[in-house]
Amino acid sequence: MENKNKFDLRETLSYFAFEVPVKLYRSIIRHGYPDSEKNKSLLIFTNFFLHILPVKVRKHTVKVRYSYCMGGITLLLFIILTITGGLLMFYYVPSTEKAYQNMKDLEFAVSFGVFLRNMHRWGAHGMVATVFLHMCRVFYTGAYKPPREFNWVIGVILLVSTLFLSFTGYLLPWDQLAFWAITVGATIASYAPMGDLQRFVLLGGNTVDQGALIRFYVAHVFLLPLVTTLLIGVHLWRVRKDGGMSGPPL
């Protein structure tokens, strides 16, 4: 009785050694080992990152030979591009005087700079390829048919925004390749009705110069990623609302 409020070293140590870790774990992961159906369900819908998935899917959905994971790989590449792009932003200044030097610094001065730039560059090419393959998969499996018509439309917008993301990124190194590719692209824009105006708005001037660089930069690191992220969110949400991934009629 008198011991009740007394400090008990053994008890305290065992509390911190054995109970706290369990309490900590239980406060983060709120379900037991996923060997029962209940825990398998909880694992999915008590997890922020997994709750976009249903608890159960048709057997058809898990066949890799159906979707070839192309939509998923596109999403993964977009995530990798966001991470590597964020890191590149630490080293890159969107100025016609500094940009090219920054690229050289990435190559020669920054640890893993080349690797970082390569990941971002090849990831971007990869994403253009996989988004196209994903579109082909959706077409050839007839997955755009009702009720998924509008998700296809959102998909087409995602295709266009992926192309623009890649195109705006192309200018940023400010080398000959970048400069002339964008000059060619901007010339194409000038063939449209009111083309000169369009080109002016795109470039923030009449030629590819500082005005164009800052516009492409802001579009590349802020506007287009924002739009793309939102649309991917809607796209995946709609996959669920349209009854999960398509499959042959039951």
Binding site: K40, M119, W122, G142, D175, Q176, F179, V184, P249
Partner: protein, 181 residues
């Protein structure tokens, strides 16, 4: 008989172990709920495993490519020294190729029609058959038309990338094409 008094407890039973519930009634045929349970599997592990494998393989491939191949970096931009030919990025070379035939038709009209046409596909195609099957034989025309569209795109990109040299003239890949791409 007096109406049975409904207690709050009957509707919201205490200690059911449930923290919340959400129900929604919708019209229409049920897609999953009323089907045989045999047709579905748990996402864990049946879907999460392929997703993790896919993530691993893609990441490893990208890391390997990035270790062995360097992204191009040419000389600093020089507005008075255009390369000949100046090429757009590869996925726009089909566009540039079309522009070389006609600036407005190739550069504006066709691309706009491409995008609008793609968006319109689900509303133009009234054939409900062939969902969930690769190359279903029930939709031969749609498949042919789309394949033609894909091939045109690829052919234009290949011409633009490998067969165009100075002044956008046709050059074979083994000839000196000048410029870069």
């Amino acid at each position: 008989m007096p109406a049975k008094k409904i207690d709050k407890q009957d509707i919201f039973p205490k200690g059911s172990g449930k923290t919340y519930g959400l129900l929604e009634l919708v019209d229409g045929e049920s897609r999953i709920a009323s089907k045989e349970p045999e047709d579905t599997v748990f996402c864990f592990p049946h879907l999460l495993t392929p997703i993790m494998m896919c993530t691993l393989v893609t990441t490893i491939v990208l890391v390997l490519v990035s270790l062995f191949f360097n992204a191009p970096l040419e000389e600093i931009a020089n507005p008075v020294r255009p390369p000949n030919p100046a090429k757009a990025p590869w996925y726009f070379l089909g566009l540039q190729e079309m522009v070389s035939y006609d600036a407005f038709v190739g550069g504006v009209l066709f691309p706009v029609l491409f995008v609008l046409g793609l968006m319109a596909i689900p509303y133009l195609d009234r054939n409900p058959l062939g969902v969930g099957v690769w190359f279903s034989k029930t939709r031969p025309i749609a498949i042919k038309l789309f394949t033609i569209f894909v091939i045109i795109n690829l052919v234009l990109i290949i011409i633009g990338t490998f067969l165009r040299g100075p002044n956008w003239a046709i050059y074979w890949p083994w000839e000196d094409q000048g410029g870069g791409h």
